[in-house]
């Protein structure tokens, strides 16, 4: 073991913090959709993958990165809305296991379709932002940017949920889906808008991830389990809980990875998750009843 409380340890902690921003953003979209519609999008990370390819090809086709990112966000927002209309809405009243299975089916469909369409090569958007050095520590600009934009995105969502008619309707229906329609809330529209926002958040995450990661059809497998672990640890559907859980898990990955090896970071994070779930099966924070 090579772990001392030195400058490298601090670097790992700070990098964990930056990673937490991205993971929190990823968990937020999934939590929003579950909290409101009560359906888990198992294929959430695959929507991110679709967004990454979309941004990659838009950029390659000549669009400046910001425009490509915007197109990617719109693409995944549309994908989220389509997922709801075509796949979720028909099974809304069936057993939860059926809902899990259909979105699981979408996961494999998207992976296979991406493999057929784009091949198995790793692609990179080719934008290098460089890094900033601070007292022997090095931080990639792409990570700093990701952290800032992820926090900004979460703040924007919070403002939307608390300050607008539709946002208020979304929060209300998340609490009581039977009463609110009788008080004039359009459940179908709320579900559709929520799905589009959930997709849009996945698109935003995709725009940030293309700056840090290579794109390949199975990238969802790298992030999907992590996102679910964070959501469940924070209490599925609990957006604040997911936010806090992202910071906990990111520290296990970053510090564990720095002290041992990167793979160990993930192993320790999942070990912690299993123990935590034994102790608090409903998640660390009070989940919705």
């Amino acid at each position: 073991m090579d772990c001392h409380l030195d400058i490298f340890f601090l670097e790992a902690v700070l990098n964990g913090l930056l990673l937490a921003g991205l993971l929190a953003l990823l968990a937020l979209g999934l939590n929003l959709v579950f909290g409101v519609i009560d359906v888990v999008w198992i294929c959430y990370a695959e929507l991110v993958m679709v967004g990454m390819y979309g941004i990659h090809y838009a950029h390659k086709g000549g669009a400046p990165f910001l425009l490509a990112a915007l197109l990617g966000i719109l693409l995944v927002a549309l994908a989220g809305a389509l997922l709801h209309v075509l796949v979720i809405r028909p099974v809304l009243d069936s057993a939860p296991i059926n809902q899990l299975l259909v979105t699981g089916g979408v996961l494999f469909f998207l992976q296979a379709a991406a493999t057929m369409a784009f091949g198995i090569e790793f692609r990179n958007i080719g934008i290098r932002l460089g890094s900033v050095n601070l007292m022997d520590m090095s931080f990639a600009w792409s990570r700093l940017l990701t952290f800032a934009v992820a926090l900004g995105g979460m703040l924007a969502l919070w403002l939307f949920l608390t300050r607008t008619y539709m946002g208020t309707a979304i929060r209300a229906i998340a609490q009581d889906r039977q009463i609110m329609p009788l008080m004039g809330v359009d459940q179908r529209k709320v579900y559709l808008v929520t799905s589009a926002i959930g997709g849009g958040l996945a698109g935003l995450a995709a725009a940030l991830m293309v700056l840090q990661y290579d794109i390949y059809p199975q990238i969802g497998l790298q992030f999907g389990p992590l996102i679910f672990m964070i959501c469940v640890l924070g209490g599925l559907g609990n957006m604040i809980g997911g936010f806090v859980a992202a910071f906990i898990i990111a520290q296990f990955i970053a510090v564990g990875g720095s002290c041992f090896a990167t793979e160990w970071g993930y192993a320790i994070a999942f070990l912690f998750f299993m123990v935590a779930i034994f102790i608090r099966p409903q998640g660390l924070f009070a989940a919705k009843s």
Partner: protein
């Protein structure tokens, strides 16, 4: 023409027929009692009118317009409000916020936020709950929760109110109070009321007409005294021995 016309309404759940070809009309300005023993289909009829269940067959016409199978929010916007047997307020909101929320959504957001507060205060005043209530709903007893439930329905500005089991769980004085409140709502706001109840006593003194249900079918429509004198109604409520 009647304000609400229900004709041939049937609702089946799988092989079970909860409501079978029920027809009745509600005239504007009246209080109609919809009564019957537990399981006679009263709440199912309410749920069909309010849009929570799509009817299996039949039509529901409100102010000249077919509303069967419309979504609950559309029906709410058309002017029908309903309360639930078991009150389900938002526990993390204050009384005023609970009611303001339904004032806001009941008008599809086409009212200013300040108007929502005013409508909410008005509705709370109507049912006799404190209008400056910033406290939560935790300390409220059964009677106050029923009032809150009623205030939430009133805040959506209905012309027709569907009141479900407003008396259930109340003591005798509270029942009299609740009945008086419905009478006052009709009188002061001109709201037409359909009142579902399985407790008959208090209701009979307030309603203009009753529709009596048993096993999902209408067995009698008429004045309260007709129902009280009817052999079949007495049998349904008290058993065959009571008739003999």
């Amino acid at each position: 023409m009647a304000m609400l016309g229900v004709s041939g309404l049937t609702k089946r759940f799988g092989g079970f027929t909860a409501v079978k070809e029920v027809s009745f009309a509600v005239e504007e300005g009246e209080i109609l009692g919809l009564i019957g023993p537990n399981g006679s289909g009263k709440s199912t009829i309410f749920n069909c009118i309010a849009g929570l269940y799509p009817p299996t067959a039949g039509s529901i016409v409100f102010e000249g317009e077919e509303i069967a199978s419309l979504s609950p929010n559309r029906i709410c916007h058309k002017g029908i409000g309903r309360t639930f047997q078991i009150p389900r307020p938002f526990r993390n909101l204050s009384l005023l916020e609970n009611v303001a929320l339904s004032a806001f959504f009941g008008q599809a957001g086409n009212v200013s936020r300040s108007d929502c507060w005013r409508l909410a205060e008005e509705a709370l005043g109507m049912v006799g709950l404190p209008t400056d209530a910033l406290g939560g709903t935790d300390g409220l007893g059964a009677a106050a929760l029923k009032k809150l439930e009623l205030a939430r329905a009133l805040a959506t500005q209905p012309r027709l109110l569907l009141a479900d089991e407003s008396l259930n769980g109340l003591d005798h004085a509270e029942m009299e109070q609740a009945a008086e409140m419905l009478r006052r709502i009709r009188q002061e706001k001109g709201i037409t009321i359909v009142w579902v109840e399985h407790i008959m006593g208090v209701l009979m003194r307030v309603v203009d007409r009753v529709v009596v249900l048993d096993h999902g079918e209408v067995i009698l429509q008429g004045k309260p005294r007709d129902a009280q004198a009817d052999r079949q109604v007495i049998e349904v409520y008290l058993g065959p021995e009571a008739v003999a």
